[in-house]
């Protein structure tokens, strides 16, 4: 599907001044100091997938251990570390970061901005995420991996029952990843609100961007809860506070409330961006705008609000009053409605669109439907407090969560990777390998996780390192393990596809799929400033317009970015995007030393911030040359009318 659109294709790198402004320093130093959202977004995605592979290997080890009764592959201590680290990496170091990374890469492109807001902070967030991940993998290799599950319930994770530093490292990994997530959330919101191309009113914002904005708001409200909980845990373990000690007025359930108040929105933080990916892919492949734009956006917003009212359904077994349980049952069942609306809208889009060409991105989206809907329906079962009393904490839940997370998030993610890989790298992924990838994944996934529904109903509880032969669970477990191996093969195919295609894949045109949002108006891959000329948008699907107007008159002596107004995207003023700088990396290193120091001693809290403060001061110290240049071209605000920057320009 190669549609050439001549009037769109030619945003070739201008050798002029503005093009030079956006270049990074050459070589490794440039790699370390870049603030280009595309380079950072790509490395975010690559790093997240590396973590995905590590956690996947852990899962494979667990499945091999459970393949037969009384397995002897690993002992209980290592198995506990395996499932705890697998869950923690998948949730904190893969699922959320990779979705945010897709946003980091695509949101500025889709709204017509030249870079993400707060671009140095973006670099800092990547380093924090990377160092946190390296820390947890390193300690896992040193027999100090988390051992109390990804949810780390106290008192098991508390000072008395979890000896050593394992849970302290877990809690500190939370701090790393939550800081990174919060930072990206702030950037995405500000980018989507203030850096949109002129004319992109809220009614014309792409659905993918809406999904990212909604997700970012959820991050803002949910992450502080887990940060608080993990700080309480570290504090209990390090300096003998009593937050979770029932004998001194604390409560083990306090942890559960704080954690799940974050934990439930967390899964929607993972899921909602995938909904944006699906809208993007379906719109393009169905060759029509997704049906029901307003309904789709409102569904995202309603989902986000409802997601905060469900957390107690993780605690149905803790002995709550029935009235409370009924409320959360009702809320948990209710959230199926906006998701249902979205699914209906997408099916309507597919049904009323043009001829469908089933390429790999669409294949993964179709796989989403078949898998996620099962997960959603088992979710409704788990929402019922009565049923949950039988289904909680056994393999039924394991099946459900993988159906919704893999079906609902990972499948669309893979689809999104196949869809945007040409844009990100300038090469097409192999279609044949893509189909192998999909089918192996689809078949392997169902083989692994469908039997788990039955195992759960038959009494197999979660987080057990072995079971005996008399239980009768052996055959289904063996089937699940075979499926897991097939999933592993599919991931190998994926990585091979990526590695080979990056070197020798077919070169990609700017718009190989016929997408209609602004990112397809740039080169593949886009040049450093994304849009040498910032487009003016007059509809929801700019590339469907016969021709695009452009903004002219932006300064070229610095990295000029156009800031527009929130409600109507009218131009407001020009801001200067920062140049590449080493300080985000150094600040992240200082923060890493600070965080790891506090794992071992409370004095880390006192002395750790000192190098961080120094690094941050150097980071924010204004550079005389840049201030001077900006002052020279600053347009002083006038009393009555805004700065006349916008002029309709002819197409090149």
């Amino acid at each position: 599907m190669t549609e050439h659109r001549n009037s769109r294709e030619t945003q070739r790198p201008q050798p002029g001044e503005e093009g030079r402004q956006w270049l990074d320093p050459p070589g490794f130093y440039g790699w370390l100091t870049t603030v280009d959202h595309k380079r950072i977004g790509r490395r975010y995605i690559v790093t997240a997938f590396l973590f995905f592979a590590c956690a996947g290997l852990m899962a494979l080890t667990m499945r091999l251990q459970l393949a037969r009764p009384n397995g002897h592959l690993v002992g209980p201590d290592f198995y506990n570390q395996l499932f705890s680290t697998h869950g923690s990496i998948m949730m904190f170091l893969f699922a959320v970061p990779v979705m945010q990374a897709m946003g980091v890469y695509l949101v500025p492109l889709q709204v017509g901005a030249r870079n993400i807001a707060f671009s140095r902070l973006n670099a800092f967030s990547y380093w924090m995420f990377a160092f946190g991940g390296i820390m947890i993998l390193t300690v896992f290799a040193l027999n100090t991996g988390p051992e109390a599950g990804w949810f780390s319930y106290v008192p098991l994770a508390g000072p008395q029952y979890s000896a050593g530093k394992r849970q302290d490292f877990w809690a500190q990994m939370i701090t790393f990843t939550e800081a990174a997530s919060l930072i990206v959330a702030i950037e995405l919101i500000v980018t989507a609100f203030k850096l949109r191309a002129p004319g992109m009113t809220l009614n014309r914002v792409p659905l993918f961007v809406w999904a990212q904005v909604v997700t970012s708001f959820m991050v803002l409200f949910a992450m502080p809860s887990v940060m608080l909980a993990s700080s309480f845990l570290m504090s209990d373990r390090l300096v003998s506070t009593q937050f979770f000690n029932p004998a001194e007025g604390g409560d083990a359930l306090l942890w559960q409330h704080l954690f799940w108040f974050f934990g439930h929105p967390e899964v929607y933080i993972i899921f909602v961006p995938a909904l944006g990916i699906i809208s993007a892919i379906i719109g393009t492949f169905a060759r029509r705008p997704p049906f029901g734009y307003l309904a789709l956006v409102l569904s995202l917003v309603v989902t986000a609000f409802l997601a905060f009212g469900l957390w107690v359904h993780h605690m149905f077994a803790t002995g709550l009053p029935p009235l409370g349980m009924s409320f959360f049952t009702a809320a948990s069942i209710l959230i199926a409605i906006p998701t249902g609306v979205q699914i209906f809208c997408w099916i309507a889009t597919l049904a009323t669109g043009g001829r469908l060409e089933i390429r790999t991105p669409l294949l993964f989206v179709i796989g989403f439907f078949f898998i996620f809907i099962i997960g959603g329906l088992t979710g409704v079962m788990l929402a019922s407090a009565s049923l949950d009393s039988q289904l909680h904490d056994n393999y039924f839940v394991v099946a459900h969560l993988h159906y919704v997370l893999i079906g609902g998030a990972v499948f669309p993610l893979f689809g999104g990777v196949y869809y945007w890989f040409p844009k990100m790298t300038g090469r097409m992924l192999s279609e044949l390998a893509g189909k192998w990838n999909f089918w192996l994944f689809f078949i392997g996934f169902n083989m692994t996780f469908f039997p788990m529904h039955i195992l759960g109903l038959d009494g197999m509880t979660r987080r057990i390192y072995t079971y005996d032969a008399a239980s009768g669970w052996g055959n289904l477990n063996l089937l699940a393990t075979v499926g897991a191996i097939i999933i592993g093969l599919s991931v190998v195919v994926f990585f091979a596809n990526v590695l080979v295609s990056m070197r020798s894949g077919a070169r990609a045109a700017p718009d190989p799929w016929g997408g209609k949002t602004l990112e397809w108006a740039t080169q593949s891959p886009p040049e450093p400033c994304n849009f040498p000329r910032i487009p003016v948008v007059e509809s929801r699907y700019p590339l469907a317009e016969p021709e695009l107007a452009y903004v002219t008159g932006l300064p070229t002596q610095f990295r000029a970015m156009l800031v527009t107004r929130l409600h109507d995207a009218a131009p407001d003023h020009v801001t200067a995007d920062p140049y590449p700088t080493i300080w985000p990396l150094l600040s992240a290193l200082a923060t890493t030393v600070f965080f790891i120091g506090t794992v071992f001693t409370p004095w880390g809290l006192v002395w750790g911030p000192v190098p961080v403060a120094i690094a941050l001061t150097c980071w924010f110290w204004p550079k005389a040359k840049e201030v001077e240049i900006q002052r020279r071209v600053e347009i002083k605000p006038q009393a009555a009318r805004p700065a006349p920057v916008l002029r309709a320009g002819a197409t090149p």
Binding site: L142, A163, E248
Partner: protein, 183 residues
């Protein structure tokens, strides 16, 4: 300059590795060496002339956080608290201070537990297996801060009676082999 830094970093990493590995290892069925035979474990620290230090097997669990936390659990289960309270002592002497009547070396503490002592310390020989005795030895040493801070246990999930072992300062052992009524 950068190669020196790299070497230092590698050394630090290896040190961290070894320390970390031992702190976190969980050995369930261990058979550590026990004091036996002709070993110089003295009940009294007073010696004429120059002092010959105690020789005996070292504490196998001084660097093992899991074992120390097990020792803390056993301290409660075997009712050591009945006489020693939570380390502050009642009818038995305090264990968290710097005074050691029968010696503070691990082998001495082992002997105290296993042989019993005059004035009320029972003999737990054959009643507590050697591995658990060593876990108790490590825990008792942590009560006065003798172990590394990252190995010592933190607070327990019961009434908060004193600072946790990992927050307690290290008190250098002082022998007090004088008879009890002059203390």
């Amino acid at each position: 300059m950068s190669s020196r830094f790299l070497e230092l970093a590698v050394v630090a990493l290896i040190a961290l590795t070894l320390l970390g590995c031992e702190r976190e290892s969980r050995r369930f069925s261990d058979s550590p060496a026990t004091p036996r035979g002709v070993q110089t474990i003295r009940q009294s620290e007073l010696q004429p002339g120059s002092s010959i230090p105690t020789s005996g097997p070292p504490s196998p669990y001084d660097d093992n956080a899991y074992a120390v936390s097990q020792g803390k659990q056993l301290f409660e289960w075997f009712n050591c608290k009945g006489c020693h309270a939570d380390g502050g002592g009642s009818i038995g002497p305090a264990l968290m201070d710097e005074k050691w009547i029968y010696g503070s070396a691990p082998a001495n503490i082992y002997a105290t537990i296993v042989e019993g002592r005059p004035n009320g310390m029972p003999s737990f020989r054959d009643k507590i297996p050697p591995q658990q005795v060593w876990q108790l030895v490590a825990y008792v040493r942590s009560l006065s801060g003798q172990l590394r801070k990252d190995v010592e246990p933190s607070r327990a999930d019961h009434l908060f009676t004193r600072k946790s072992e990992s927050s307690s300062p290290k008190s250098a052992p002082v022998s007090s082999s004088a008879p009890r009524d002059t203390q």
